[in-house]
Symmetry: C2
Subunit: 124 residues, 2 copies
Amino acid sequence: MAAALSVISGKWKLSIINQLLSGQKRYSEINRAIPGMTEKMLSQQIRELEEDGIVTRHIFPEVPPRVEYSLTPIGQELSSIFYTLETWGSHYMTVTNANGEIIKPDYTCYTLIKQDDEVVKETA
Amino acid sequence: MAAALSVISGKWKLSIINQLLSGQKRYSEINRAIPGMTEKMLSQQIRELEEDGIVTRHIFPEVPPRVEYSLTPIGQELSSIFYTLETWGSHYMTVTNANGEIIKPDYTCYTLIKQDDEVVKETA
DNA sequence: TGTGCAACATACTTTTTGGTAGGTTATGGG
DNA sequence: CCCATAACCTACCAAAAAGTATGTTGCACA
């Protein structure tokens, strides 16, 4: 589990993998597809993914250069993690938004259980 | 998916949730069960989990204080994420260790595809 | 001679995260 | 009267991650 987390942790890695799930792409394509990500982050994180055996890099020795990235077999199996995360995440968001209101921001709400087992709600 | 990741990211959160998957536990129990984690980290991360609606806190107003933590329903559903991460992770480790050797550390290995489509392997 | 291109690298700064060391509370026991 | 207890909090510091800005390559085109 730690191994799985270490592979996918990184602000842009899941976005990058998501792009490659739909097939081989080149550097500039991925770059355009993920707004907000700088080129440095793309090359850094995609290199880590390569070192971890998730993506393969195909360099075409042309000028100007062309590099295409694709997922390895084990990289493609990450789609199960995608699916689980998405399923839980969307469920999570509907739960925290039940009743049409957001539950999360109630930071200072404690459930006090008195010694006579009476439950008291206290909001600081 | 981003929501799911933001909830579980944090060095100790999965360990804490893992503890609570086996039932309600008090602060000191969790603390003892996770070696290497400081008390500050426990209270900080468990508070974030509480704010995110993953755990509930039950304060018993006794002296010395007693606080018990348990997973909310949506928190318990995180077990599916645990399962997927573990499954992929163990598969990943057997794949990178095929042939009894580690594939990952070959950092500077590029696959060059020449313009005549001949594949050349270059190790810098 | 100069500009643009794609895919980077490198140095530097900022932000986020984690860790260390101390203090706080009220009470019961020595 | 002092200490130990459980569950914290606060200030401070270090490390890791992310972001910004700029430089590099070699060739084609103007």
